[in-house]
């Protein structure tokens, strides 16, 4: 889109208020969605909750193909479709809602840097675990990823996706890492986040920002997803302020809503299983 057209569309977007029927699309929650996609989706939902914007979650088997960038989740607002947390934050900002307006320049720099840290380390570690670790791939990823489709399409799609993710891992240099090294990186990332959070309720003291939404999305999903081993969630549980942070956001923004949200209020100790 040329610059003029894009400015025009942004104006249009800004002009319309947030509609009641905004929808967020993701894959099927019980059978199909994977760890990394669930985390991204939860992060967007948390962000929209924090902005007090109503959204309903729609589960479709082909959500990935519907998305304009190929990644989930994406939101359908009015006649616009926006995918991934970064562009969604900007889109919401154009509509006049922003969580990070109260931050000064240095804090904004830090917020962006920490968001990149989460994307760079946590998200990549999740992708590694589900697509490059053979045990997890066999037992969880392959059965789940193609589950809405008949054989042989389900196998073909999973192998295709696996090949694509492995190529990307090779390009960024993660292909040579062992599982222990990846878990070590996750631990480092959690340590950095824990130190940054300290004893504050949110990362930038009183008000939640998109960084809080992103961290919540990933950590909560890691804590509540049952994989072949518990090592990943153990790494997060080592940091008590992070688990307290997740609980706090869950209670504040997700409890008491009877819509189809990804967090279930039922006993926090019972892990929600994503195994088939």
């Amino acid at each position: 889109m040329s610059l003029v057209a894009e400015a025009f569309v942004t104006q249009l977007a800004a002009a319309e208020p947030w509609p009641e029927n905004a929808a967020l699309y993701q894959q099927l929650k019980e059978e199909q969605i994977l760890l990394s996609d669930n985390a991204s989706s939860l992060a967007v939902q948390a962000f929209l909750q924090m902005c007090n914007l109503p959204i309903r979650v729609v589960c479709r088997a082909n959500a990935e193909y519907m998305s304009p960038s190929g990644k989930v989740p994406f939101i359908h607002v009015g006649n616009q479709v926006v995918s991934e947390l970064g562009p969604i934050v900007q889109f919401v900002k154009a509509k006049g809602h922003s969580l990070s307006d109260g931050l000064d320049e240095v804090q904004k720099a830090e917020m962006k840097a920490y968001m990149e840290l989460v994307n760079n380390m946590l998200l990549t570690a999740e992708l590694y675990l589900q697509w490059c670790d053979d045990v997890t791939v066999e037992e969880i990823t392959h059965p789940r990823y193609g589950s809405p489709y008949p054989w042989p399409l389900n196998r073909i799609l999973s192998y295709q996706k696996q090949w694509e993710v492995r190529r990307k891992m090779k390009a960024i240099g993660w292909a040579g890492k062992t599982l222990e090294q990846v878990l070590e990186d996750v631990d480092q990332c959690c340590q950095a986040l824990s130190q940054r959070l300290g004893t504050q309720p949110y990362f930038f003291n009183k008000q939640p920002t998109e960084l809080d939404a992103l961290v919540f999305g990933h950590l909560f999903t890691i804590l509540t997803t049952q994989l072949t081993t518990d090592e990943l969630s153990e790494k997060v549980k080592n940091y008590s302020n992070l688990t307290a942070f997740c609980r706090r956001i869950e209670q504040q923004y997700f409890e008491g809503h009877d819509k189809d949200s990804a967090t279930t209020v039922a006993a926090r100790s019972a892990k929600r299983s994503l195994l088939r």
Partner: protein, 321 residues
């Protein structure tokens, strides 16, 4: 303390000790911590023990090839630039390094290696001139393809095909990243006070090539030059830690500051090669001359003497005219 370790890295150019960002990061970190390294500035990856650059050859752990692993190894050997940092500062280091790697480094790679004008007129030219024969015919192209593939996998096809979108969004993010760095640095000497840390090594290694290279298509470069504190930061690190490297041309002027033994290895070979090629040329000409009979040596040297009367006759003819 281990015996001195050997570091193999790309040669210097454009006023920098090394042109490759990863090699520069390792060099800078070593300078910051005072680690005793024997530096070999090589002009082709085939000279390094592991086939890739940068490479650190240690006594007990073999050869380490990735920048992060090299820095971790140096830390383990007690050369730790982050010793004085608080926990929050350590966390900030991780975060800013991630920001650089995600937002700035891919765009830098694009500027140097994929952008058509820059690649052809600047990067490829430098590498072709520096890498020795016969590698210089295919190695730069190989590196270009590698970088292109990496960017394609990271960004997806939609960005690679649509130049305008790429320029608008990704370069905008990179410019924003530079501005954020500038704001974070403020008016301090280094990112965490008065002594340099590993984050400074990272930031310097990404910014310095962008600042120093003379790129024909330099929009990102112009943005960096407009951020005065970052420019001062880079030049002060260069002058403080690499005083005799800055400003030297990449041509084969033998480096008089004898700390780098690796450079003088190149010259004798070059002279020898030149001499050899001249000798081979002469031998080929003489051999052809003898074989085809243009010149023949007869016993007693009359062949050579026989030529002279011919020339004398010619001169007489000329005089007559």
């Amino acid at each position: 303390m281990a015996a001195p370790m050997e570091l193999f890295c790309w040669a210097g150019g454009w006023g920098l000790p090394s042109v490759d960002p990863d090699c520069l990061a390792v060099l800078t970190y070593a300078r910051f911590t005072g680690a005793p390294l024997k530096v070999h500035r090589v002009t082709s990856p085939w000279r390094s023990p592991s086939g890739r650059l940068p490479a650190l050859k240690t006594q007990d752990e073999g050869t380490i090839s990735k920048m992060q692993q090299i820095i971790t190894h140096l830390r383990k050997q007690k050369y730790n630039a982050d010793y004085d940092l608080s926990a929050t500062q350590g966390a900030d280091t991780l975060a800013f390094v991630s920001l650089l790697e995600e937002k700035l480094l891919p765009v830098l790679i694009h500027t140097f290696w994929v952008d058509a004008k820059n690649y052809v007129e600047h990067t490829r030219k430098w590498y072709t001139e520096t890498i020795p024969f016969p590698l210089n015919f295919f190695l730069p192209n190989c590196m270009h393809k590698q970088h292109l593939e990496r960017l394609q996998l990271m960004w997806g096809d939609s960005y690679m095909e649509d130049e305008e979108k790429l320029e608008k969004e990704l370069y905008r993010d990179a410019r924003e990243c530079l501005t954020l760095l500038s704001q974070r640095l403020g008016s301090q000497k280094f990112f965490f006070g008065d002594s340099p840390a590993s984050l400074d090594a990272f930031v310097f290694s990404r910014l310095a090539p962008l600042l120093k290279a003379k790129l024909p298509n330099g929009k990102l470069q112009q943005h960096l030059k407009s951020l005065q504190n970052l420019c001062n930061y880079c030049t002060s690190i260069l002058s403080l830690y690499f005083p005799w490297d800055g400003g030297e041309p990449p041509a084969s002027v033998p480096r008089a500051a004898g700390a780098d033994g690796g450079d003088t290895e190149e010259d004798p070979h070059k002279r020898r090669n030149q001499l050899l090629s001249v000798l081979v040329g002469l031998a080929a000409m003489l051999g052809y001359a003898f074989l085809s009979g243009i010149v023949s040596i007869q016993r007693g040297g009359t062949g050579l003497a026989g030529r002279q009367p011919i020339t004398l006759e010619e001169e007489e003819e000329e005089e007559e005219e």
